[in-house]
């Protein structure tokens, strides 16, 4: 099997070939088209619930813009610690030259994504939605923090890519929105390829040294982390901005609705299958 270091050589070549300029890749219009979807309805967090059915199509389309703004914001917010973590890992003692070269591209591309999402959200939604996470200090077993870091990378990127692909392909959606998702997906495909191999290598290296308790605790955390990540898609502030009442209750209703749970399961299947295949998880977490 190809190692992360060998894969990094190929990915660096691809990144250089597909190098793009975030400041000139699109002309940002003064305003977006109206009466279009900004996100396919099937991806919207309320879809399949009575609250969704009670909205007019105009309200649904308006919500789709705020859902997209929330989606771009949460990817941006996930990319901030990702870039910080990648920079911390640049020129680490264990890195090969090819891994360092690729990490430079990884950081560059993630930075461009943040520029692009920030521009979109500020222009058309009026803000980047803040994250509500509070980072608390904790102790890790040897290598556990490293494995957890790449697990977080995989979660933010795999869930994000599920949306990117669906939006990019959907002809009902605004063309600019489709283009932004397409550009993101092209870079993310490389990041995911690297993340999958790198995470599996790290887990195989460190997990054999963990106690059964550490491993069980890690698996519990990973399932909880994935579930908590989904929580970010049901943002009460976003519902309020879209003009919907009782936004917190709406979130609670949608998160516990079977149609939404089924959607989360389907949208997570790729990353969950990967976690199970590598041994990071032993069963599907309840989402």
């Amino acid at each position: 099997m190809e190692t992360a270091s060998e894969l990094a050589v190929r990915l660096t070549k691809a990144s250089r070939k597909k190098f793009w300029d975030v400041y000139n890749f699109v002309e940002w219009p003064e305003a977006l088209q109206t009466d279009v979807w900004y996100m396919p309805p099937e991806l919207i967090s309320l879809y399949g619930t009575p609250a969704w059915d009670a909205l007019t199509e105009e309200q649904q389309k308006r919500l789709s813009l705020y859902e997209l703004g929330n989606f771009f914001s949460l990817v941006l917010q996930g990319e901030r610690p990702l870039v910080a973590g990648l920079v911390d890992r640049l020129y680490s003692k264990g890195n090969t030259t090819s891994v360092n070269e690729y990490l430079h591209h990884f950081v560059d591309e993630e930075n461009k994504h943040m520029v692009m999402f920030g521009e979109f959200c500020n222009r058309y939604v009026g803000k980047v939605y803040p994250e509500k996470k509070i980072v608390l200090p904790r102790e890790y077993a040897k290598g556990e923090e490293e494995v957890a870091f790449y697990c977080k990378v995989m979660v933010v990127e795999e869930l994000g890519d599920f949306y990117n692909l669906a939006i990019e392909k959907d002809e009902r959606c605004d063309p600019l929105v489709r283009e932004v998702n397409k550009v993101h997906h092209i870079d993310e495909a490389r990041h995911l390829a690297f993340g999958r191999v790198q995470l599996a290598e790290l887990f195989n290296k460190f997990a054999p040294g963990w106690s059964a308790e550490t491993l069980a605790g890690f698996r519990q955390w990973l399932g909880d982390y994935l579930r908590a990540s989904w929580g970010d898609y049901y943002n009460p502030t976003m519902y309020r901005d879209a003009g919907l009442a009782d936004s917190y209750e709406l979130r609670q209703m949608a998160m516990s609705h079977p149609a939404c749970a089924e959607f989360r399961k389907r949208a997570s299947s790729k990353v969950v299958n990967y976690f199970i295949k590598t041994g990071l998880l032993v069963e599907e977490p309840a989402l």
């Binding site: 803040p130 509500k132 996470k133 509070i134 980072v135 608390l136 904790r138 909880d224 982390y225 579930r227």
Partner: protein, 83 residues
């Protein structure tokens, strides 16, 4: 909403979401994260609940993790201005 009701609702939320054994046995002074009654991943959900009680958003950039120490610290940080 009165102080006692806010404290009771914070407590109810914690009890409902905690995975810790004996989770109902804590006081307003108990260190809810240090004692493992809530985990760091519960905090996002908890912040949204507190926002719904306050009726306004919380800027998490402006708050220290120590705010989440106990029901007392939570009440002081988030409700003494608006209660």
């Amino acid at each position: 909403m009165q102080e006692q009701e806010i404290r009771a609702r914070l407590r109810d939320w914690i009890v409902k979401h905690s995975k810790a054994p004996g989770k109902a046995n804590f006081s307003d002074d108990t260190k809810i994260l240090e004692e493992g009654i809530l985990s760091s991943l519960d905090i996002v959900e908890f912040v949204l609940f507190i926002e719904s009680l306050r009726g306004e958003d919380i800027d998490t950039d402006d708050i220290e993790p120590a705010v989440f120490t106990s029901i007392n610290t939570l009440y002081t940080a988030f409700f003494t201005q608006v209660a």
